[in-house]
Symmetry: C2
Subunit: 130 residues, 2 copies
């Protein structure tokens, strides 16, 4: 792929093959601008996301297509999909419907909004639950 | 790895092996909350980031350690490093020093701040340069 076309062109050329079929997907809540999760996407998952308008991933643990919220109702509604300069990464900007994006729960038993609830501090992870 | 320890523990157990040695790193500007790039990190790159306080990656194209800004001076100063529930993704929250995080330039010849300058629209990429 010509670098100029890849970086400056308007043709969608997501480099799935370069990354073994899967590219990382960053999911950002458009309201708070918070990163709520990071998933993976293959060609089918991207096509399904565009078709449904709901964030869809390829689950690397279950090895299957996964539209987040399909069972729980907690969809991530797509507002915009961005790609990066060399088209090997995706950014889903979403409106969050229902409760958190994370499958884990805080000490109060509430679903965490974001999977990124711990930070590295003094060689340990520090929980930042509010 | 016990799931409870991985998800709720305070021990740093980044799952490099699960992802072939490399986990995705999301880079977010703490001031604008904008996603400026997505890189890759192995154990050495994370250790170097923690040591220098500057965003460091494993370059998958050059296959070498890469501290962003080491040649250009455009460092990404680390404010916080977060990891996700299953510790196979990293989020560098950074202060941007110098010009943009992207190696590409807009039509005016200015380095783009973020690598995510195009969005998917009507089966094409639309440039969002300001």
């Amino acid at each position: 792929m010509n670098k100029k076309i890849l970086e400056e062109g308007n043709s969608i050329e997501i480099q799935f093959d370069k990354r073994g079929g899967l590219v990382p997907v960053i999911v950002q809540d458009v309201d708070s601008m918070e990163i709520v999760m990071q998933g993976w996407c293959n060609k089918l998952a991207l096509e399904t996301t565009l078709e449904l308008g709901k964030a869809t991933f390829w689950s690397t643990s279950r090895n299957e297509l996964w539209t987040k919220g399909m069972t729980s109702g907690d969809y991530l509604e797509i507002v915009e999909i961005l790609t990066d300069c060399d088209q090997d990464s995706l950014l889903y900007k979403v409106k969050m419907v229902g409760s958190g994006a994370c499958h884990t729960k805080n000490a109060s038993g509430t679903a965490r909004k974001s999977c990124f609830y711990r930070k590295i501090e003094n060689d340990q992870l520090k929980n930042m639950d509010k």
